[in-house]
Amino acid sequence: MINEALLEIDHLGVTLPVDGRPRPILRDVSLRLNAHDALAIVGESGSGKSMTARAIMRLLPEGATTSGVVRFQGHDVATLSGPSLREYHTRGIGVVFQDPRAHINPVRTIGDYLTEVLTTNLGLSQASANARVLDLLAQVGIPNAQRRLRQYPHQLSGGLLQRVMIAAALAPEPQLLIADEPTTALDVTTQADVVAVLNEQRQERQMALIFITHDLDLAAAICDRTAVMYAGTVVEEQRSTELHEHPLHPYTAALLNSRPRLEGVDTLTPIQGQPLPAWEAPEGCAFAGRCEFANDLCRASRPDLVGPPERLSACLRTVELCETLTLAVSEA
């Protein structure tokens, strides 16, 4: 089929029970990713960016109820089970989490961790799994790979261990890699290094990437498109360069102007108030309470994510504000 999306998320909602009452975490998330696309999902705490990733991975917490649909190559991922789910979790998607120490078994060697998926799920012999893993470690820039395979996670630095997790995610050659804040716990020089590895591997393998981060600049550096989330919804989605120069949503513009920067004006423009989780969001636009442009209509009705392709915004005043917002980010 022509133009078939690799991943399609349609009006996804996720609700978790808290103290017996349902609490919405995601309200309305729609995203689309073609093969080889790189999409960044950017947001602050509680925006739902990690929950979106978990919904794609079919790793939602116990008791979660969902609405909407997540399709991978046209198949509803909610209907996968047994072998098809295992296939999805190996050749379909690979995952890199923020804290490798929390996701790599501390009492097993790096070699065991890396070869397990290849021998148990893909049916490789131990010898060919070892060979593939040595090759992978070289590709992600880990020297002395032979020795590393015999070591345990505590013997590796955070940066090296994160590269091990990237190697593990790449091992079954997935079509989509989901990286959830993979460098947030790392030093800045190590971050640059790990992100460079991710970027190279994505391009060489022609793999699709979803990169979750709170850093708009990091997002733009490696992803063609950026989606900004707030209170469990996508509020803007554009090409990353456009988003930085011509933001369509007041939240994006405000977030851009509250970043500390190395150049330009040396005053910061904070956003008043604090980010809201979806369950605390009011009736109308969730950002209205912090938005300098909000009017009565904004507070009364919730805007949908609309616009021409690659220029999507969930703001009732997008059209009249776009010049103001462009000016606001160019002055800062």
Binding site: E44, S45, G141, P143, Q155, S157, G158, G159, L160, D187, V188, T189, T190, Q191, A192, D193, V195, A196, V197, N199, E200, H214, D215, D217, L218, A220, A221, I222, H244, A254, L255, S258, R259, P260, R261, L262, E263, D266, T267, L268, T269, P270, I271, Q272, Q274, P275
Partner: protein, 286 residues
Amino acid sequence: MSPPIVSVNQLRKVYSVRSGLGKRVDMVAVDGVSFDLAPGGSLGIVGESGSGKTTIARILVGLERATSGQITIAGHRHTEGRVGDRERRRRGQAIQIVFQDPFTSLDPRQSVAGALDEALRIKGGSTPVSRRARMAQLLSQVGLDQAFERAHPRALSGGQRQRVAIARALAVEPSVLVLDEPTSALDVSIQAQVLELLIAIRRETGIAYLFISHDLAVVRHVTDRVLVMREGKVVEEGSTADVLHAPKQPYTQLLLDSIPRSGWTPKRQPEEVSGATQRALSSSRP
């Protein structure tokens, strides 16, 4: 020129750690660091994990003891050996600290009023009435409504907690505030609020800051001088503007080049650099 409010000379801290084989080995966390902080000035100490920046902060406020070196704060030279209660109290009035994680630095059982009242009582020379007045003043100084007085930390967001921690540190009217990564745990929009608050407080009170951070962009906004540290040593020192715009050391340049910004593409580090950083990392994890 008035004498520095903080003067540190040849500070050294050596930890004895057990190596894999049970042998004790020395790990030098801070290696001959000297600097001055002018009254009302703001000095940034920047470095990656294992650079020794937090160890310096902890030594200055008395949470760690230096192996050697001289520290003078507000005209008082720190003596070696055990520190008595009176001396500790006197130092506490000169220098205070705000920690990175507002989720662990406040007592969960103590209300905001309780935390502030305790700090004010330690300062001494106050009555319940004068303390209440001062408490109201502190809360407004950090931009919190009076209603927060009765709140406990669990009811507060990260940014609000950090404001309480700042108010508590300001309660004794110290001449120096050590800020150890005070905004690293906060969201971007909240980080900007707290940084702007810190800038305003220094402008209004003339307090001096020692600002510990891994983030050069943050340091640019809140400091006028900066030390760049690596593996316990000072690599570069100068006015913040000079260091950021015309760095003299390759390591400073590397740090700057690693920060994502418009038009930036990530590059793999040369082997030598990542090797050294990695050694520093593994040695900082005993």
